[in-house]
Amino acid sequence: MVVRGSPERQRARRLRWKRIATGFAFMAPAIAVLCAVLLYPIAYNVWLSLHSYNLSELYLGKHWVGLHNYWLELHDAFFWRALRNSAIVTAASLCIELPIGMGLALLLNRRLRGHAIFRFFFFLPLMLVPAVTAYMWRFLFQYTGILNYFLGELHIGRINWSSTTAGLASVVVLSVWENTPFSLIVLLAGLQSIDPEILAAAHVDGADGWRRFRYIVLPLMRQFILIVLVIRTMDLLRLFEEGYILTGGGPGRSTETLSQLVYTQMFTFFDVGRGSAISIMEGVVVVGATLILFLTLRVRAGQRSA
């Protein structure tokens, strides 16, 4: 029997600490690099957000202003418009991407002949370089472009895609085209993890297709839907190049998203302090949205199983 404070016990403790120390030695290079290129820059960004610092007025230098940059942004119409635009693009894209991705996953999961070739076609947009895809869609969205030609043929009429509403819609169309495959991949993996015997049993019990989907598939897929929602919400709230390339924030600055607003503050007005402050607030918005998604879906999951 090992007694507290006995030599065996002490030896075991020493060995444990030696093992942990060796482990940290293995991790040291990665930790050092992470501190240098990730943690230090982020801390520096927070520090910058508390200072007045403009690259076009370097003679003024940096000086401490506390939360003044945040206060300025919260009283700036451009900030609220960017927040609204990001929220609109995120909500609209999710509402389209997720159902289509789910529908396609259900269709592909039947493994009909030729499903592999369809899967390859459907995955293609995800493999292209996003910036190039954005330029590609800028070409398709031209006033005399192919998209407007089809809209004309369908008697809907040509749309001026460089207006505010249509500009935001074009960003949504692009991100839906580009990212529906992501929902498809994750949800298809989810469907394939469902035991077919459960569905067969429900079939025998007389549950029709819709009920099998609603009461068996959907609850079992909850974790996968949550993954898609969380990752896509994070990515959409941080959306930059789609908007930057497709609309350039125009007309004027009316379709700017949060990330674009940071870029404008930083590289058009050279206002480092305010740019940093917005980027920190953007981070807070992303974390907040993620937490809300986690909590609501977790809570609902708990209620259902209870």
Binding site: G23, V129, T144, S259
Partner: protein
Amino acid sequence: MTRAKRHAATSTIYTLLMIYAVWTLFPIVWVVLSSFKTNAQALSVPPKFFFTPTTANYPDVFHTISGFSGVIVNSVVIAAAGTAAIIVLSVPAAYGLSRMVTIGRNALGFGIMSARTFPTIGLAIPLFLLMQDAHLLDTRVSVIAANVAFSLPFGIWMIYGFVEAVPRELEEAAALDGCTRIGTLLRIVLPQLLPGIGATAILTAIVAWREYLFPLVLTTRNARTLPVVAGSFITDFGTDWSGLCAYAVMTMLPVAIFGAFVSKYLARGFVSGAVKG
């Protein structure tokens, strides 16, 4: 289900799949077609579906984008060097975390989540200023550092998952035989990790290859990568749409061919990365 009913269901499914396939493929097909047109034909009204193709746009890409071959080299070097750095740092870190450090694992998981949440642009601002101070703006090193910052947490987490899947008995036997920790990692664990390392490397290389914001902010001329030079076709004198299409096809082709081979891997990687991240 009766035979006729099943037949109807099958054809409905195929119709739906075809509709989505047209929606997904048509933009790509149209860009490929337009890359063989003259610029005047690219946006002609009504659009030309049949025309005499020209291949002039492809060599012209090298004129429009100054130093295009250098840009390709930059993209390849930046993706490869960043990936190599991430793998070399991740493997020992993941091994140490999995086998020796029994404390602080949740903290790492939290760190990964927050690293994924932090907006890229919020990392680009301080990196731009720090690189400026270090006189590293417009160098490959600056873009590689930014990519490593963004992908290293993900790399560690992914490889950690693969290390956890390696059975520990062999390592214990090796330790009894007097093998050091590093020896065990290199001789016993590493060979079993190779498929996992391959998957991680492919994913991080793709992320670096696609990255737009970091090279946009950190480079001006010498270290530009493929995604940021696309803007060269849009000038104050007008836009060379057919040239842009040719450029787009040139960037699509390698990725699509590559993707055809690794799409299964990719799917698994996306999902496992997603589930764990």
